[in-house]
Amino acid sequence: MDAVQEITKYEKDRTIQGKYGLADFWEMRPERRAAVLLRAIQEGHAWHFERNPAYRQAVSARGVRAQIAEEDLPRILRQTSQTFKSYIEILGTPFPQDKPREFVEWLDEQLSVRLPRERFGRIQRRYRSLEALLADIEAVFGDFQFEISTSSGTSGKSTILVRDREAIDKTVESLYLSFQRYMGMQADHRVIFIMPKETRIAMARFTGFCIERLETFNGRVHYTIPFPARPDQVRIRAGRTFRDGWAGQIERRLWHPLINWANERYATPRSTRETLRLLRAAEAAGEKALLFGGWVHLHSLAREVLAGGHPIQLPPGSLLGTGGGFKEVYAFTPAQIRGDLALALQDVQGQPLPFHDVYGMAESNWAAMQCREGSYHIPPWVYALTLDEDDNPQMATEATGLLAFYDPFGGGRLFPGFFKSADQVRLVNPPGRYDPALDCACGEVGAYIAQGSIQRVDLMEEAGCAAQV
């Protein structure tokens, strides 16, 4: 056990985080949950405030000190869309591989553990790609067991964040508990991910980890996108951010069309064929399947099945899952996609397979999964609330506002998991404002996001005649 782990263990033993496992929260009454979470948030804040320079700087500027009261909660939130993207403006480039040492300095500021400075010299002066830089950081600081993940990166400007072994274990546990609880998944599915095995995209990576870490799935987890999705490729494919100069021209004129062509003509059809093959095999063997993919991939699969004329019929307990919303303009609505999926993928009685959306983000070590009633359940170890337009918490049992969350138990020790999202949601029964009459019809007690209420709101509305340039 190294020094970092020792300190962490010591700290954990003496704090409230050490007293409860994630699953314990399902046993607590809502009022008790709120009280425990609040205390854990206060402890977590004090711990990170002392150790995390970027966090301390951000909240100190709002007048927050190490000890906080409940009314300070909104002031310790950082923006998901800003916190782990701030390197872009601080370095002056969205390409940290051009300024690797400055990037590591930035990273060090963002963490609640100090990186050994004597190793900074081992970071090269330049890397050929973002992937190469991230891989080298993981290697140079190998004893920290970092996993560096990114947001989906469709803007070409990725959120980059680091988790360590403890945080990953917590995330995996968090996701698995939610999969079981809200989606009814047991460890007896054949799991098919329409995604690449090799990716740094946080939600895909951790969902994969979550399944792979469970030994019962050995040999029954499949990734059907045959190519890795490295951050550089994702950026070029999205086509919204290119390198400067000749390199950028080559990316724009050669690689961008080529990657998209290859994706459309080769990767997607091959992935669809492979997914179909696996599903048909599960159908033939009478094996329960869990199929997980983006909306567009699932739709492509459904249309392929429907074109063949025969729906796939899987045993009871089989599930469909999606997440991530729509990253690009797509010609079909979620309702149309659900309709096609209901016709294409059914149980043996000819009924549509249960279809669950998963709501999460790169910065969160948890995900809200849709239950059979369509509600997105916030895991009970997460303290979620909504904020009004002035960043004040909304005090109602049911309110529409910007989703904010505190994850003191699952958030890990590298950075405080206290964030304000860019999503407006209708949140029901948040901690401390529980009304049993508003419980979800699925029987779960606790906070949930109402179906159909999630909306991205970080785009500035043009009210007057002032331009956005």
Binding site: I90, D391, G464, C465, A466
Partner: protein, 564 residues
């Protein structure tokens, strides 16, 4: 429940004939500048008649009849100026019902603070009609395409920038006029959008001014803004009470761009279309005009498009000389410059195209206050303005998010946030090197009372390093604090103006006047003569002062006189 306010203005004859007892009214309710349910506490509702294409055709006939009887030329303008004075007094008079209606409805509907609305109502006289008559007579010589020319009867200079490459520039060679024959419009169709009060009114006033070319005032049909439909009809109704003939050719109401039969009817009759709207809406109107031109086999209809824009401030080192002060009040000039430049930014909470985003401040020698000292002064003045001219009902989260971002950039050592998290404004000193995307982001950050102060070694860096990186079609005004006592329009100022104009800036005003454009000068590159004549492709840039230093003090005294 308070009855809805009229979001339309129609002359009496139109109301009597085109609007019957069966006319259906549509209403919208807003609270704190956001749509809400009618009857909700604090909601303000505005209504307008839903006129069919046939009713609009009838309206055009009535307005045309009125046009024949309306006064014209100088007689019209003299009466209009007198009536506007009366209206200005009414809006400034605390007991007047028009002022009461404005103050009771505009803050809630538009979202702007009552103090902001009050200052606007009391400052109507700052929108001068002076010098308009001369704008429609005489000519603009081709010399304007080669350098600054003076403007007859008005302070300042005018410059024309030709478009269309070297062929366009050839058109500016030689002598003669930049403009063609008189084509005073008989019918103007206008579109005012956004929540900054008065877009429709501005189009009406400019349109009516075309009578100064000698023709009758045009028939004007203006689509009002759903986001703020109250102010223009209020002013027009007050004008009608003062002198009904002046607005007897004007109709202001609301319809949808998608109501193709109405759009076809109106655009099909238009000699000139003027739109102050988003770039997307302008594109839609442009297509509708082109379709009408094709359908009617007529020459292209003139279209004046005023899309969404951005404006900036530039503070010259000569106004930051230590010891410079207003001789009347003794107040240091740096404070006055920061106050007035701050006012240019906070007016309409930076939702307006005229609102300044970034203040570029020139570093001087040891005798000058530093750009950082200017930024500190600006922060102090914005704090004062926040008390006297509060921010509207806009989400504070926008300011908080920017505060957080710029605070995190302090770690670069090149950014310093001067305001606090709980302030309803943001002032940040920012000397990071910015590439074009970063500059765009910085510009976009500056809305809702967020100002970046950027030091420059020389004012010429403003166009040379910054403005040229922005889309020229989106640039509008530059508020400047420059000049020395008695120094007038120096070569330095003209050279600076020339470079800014070349980047796309269309107006240069002295600080404090940013929110009060003068009709006689360039509006987005178009001058009043553009309303009545055609010319080669390009745009005008105007400098709206001769003595910048003195004008700054004059503006300050005017605001002081108003208790601000």
């Amino acid at each position: 429940m308070t009855p809805p306010v009229d979001g339309f203005w129609l002359p009496r004859e139109v109301r009597e004939i085109a609007m019957g007892p069966d006319t259906h009214f549509q209403a919208l309710s807003f609270k704190d500048g956001r749509p809400c349910e009618e009857g909700e506490a604090g909601a303000v509702s505005a209504r307008w008649p839903q006129l069919s294409a046939a009713a609009w055709r009838r309206t055009l006939e009535i307005l045309n009849d009125n046009r024949r009887r309306a006064p014209r030329g100088d007689a019209f303008w003299g009466r209009l100026s007198a009536a506007l004075e009366v209206v200005g007094r009414r809006f400034a008079s605390p007991g007047d019902p028009i002022r009461k209606t404005a103050l009771e409805s505009l803050p809630g509907y538009s979202g702007y603070s009552e103090a902001m609305i009050r200052l606007t109502l009391e400052g109507l006289d700052l929108m001068s009609l002076e010098g308009m008559a001369a704008r429609f007579r005489g000519t603009i010589p081709k010399e304007a395409a080669r350098g600054w020319v003076s403007i007859e009867g008005l302070p300042g200079r005018l410059r024309f920038y030709a478009k269309g490459g070297w062929l366009g520039k050839l058109g500016g060679l030689g002598r003669g006029s930049l403009f063609g024959e008189l084509e005073a419009p008989g019918i103007i169709v206008g579109y005012g959008a956004g929540n900054v009060p008065g877009a429709a009114l501005l189009i009406v006033l400019l349109g009516l001014a075309t009578t100064l070319s000698g023709e009758a005032p045009p028939v004007m049909v203006i689509k009002n803004s759903r986001r703020e439909p109250i102010f223009s009809p209020l002013v027009l109704s007050a004008l009608a009470e003062a002198d009904p003939e002046l607005v007897s050719t004007v109709a202001v109401s609301i319809w949808d761009y998608e109501e193709t039969d109405i759009q076809e009817t109106l655009i099909g009759e238009a000699d000139l279309v003027v739109a102050a709207a988003s770039d997307e809406t302008i594109g839609q109107i442009r297509s509708q005009i082109a379709a009408a031109d094709r359908r009617l086999s007529r020459p292209p209809t003139r279209f004046h498009a005023h899309g969404h824009k951005v404006s900036f401030s530039a503070i010259g080192a000569e106004t930051l000389v230590q010891g410079l002060a207003d001789p009347t009040s003794g107040r240091p000039l740096i404070e006055i410059a920061a106050l007035l430049a701050g006012l240019d930014s906070v007016f309409w909470d930076q939702h307006g195209c005229l609102s300044s985003r970034i203040h570029f401040v020139e570093r001087g020698d040891g005798a000058c206050h530093t750009p950082m000292e200017y930024a500190q002064q600006l922060e102090a003045q914005l704090r004062l303005l926040a008390a006297h001219l509060p921010r509207g009902a806009w989400p504070l989260s926008q300011i908080h998010d920017r505060f957080d971002r710029y605070k995190s950039l302090e770690s670069t050592g090149q950014v310093k946030v001067l305001s606090g998290y709980d302030d309803e404004f943001l002032v940040a000193f920012d000397q990071r090197p910015l590439d074009a995307p970063a500059l765009s982001r910085a510009v976009n950050d500056c809305q809702g009372r967020a100002i970046l102060v950027r030091p420059v070694d020389d004012l010429m860096e403003v166009p040379g390093k910054f403005l040229r990186s922005l889309p020229s079609a989106n640039l509008q005004s530059l508020s400047v604090a420059t000049g020395e006592p008695g120094g007038g329009l120096t070569e330095r100022i003209l050279k600076f103006g020339e470079a800014c104009g070349r980047c796309g800036v269309t107006a240069m005003r002295s600080v404090g006047r940013g929110a009060f454009p003068q009709l006689a000068y360039s509006w987005d590159g178009l001058i009043p003569m553009d309303l009545v004549r055609r010319r080669a492709e390009g745009y005008f840039t105007s400098i709206e002062f001769d003595s910048p230093y003195e004008q700054i003090l004059d503006t300050y005294h005017k605001f002081q006189g108003r208790g601000n």
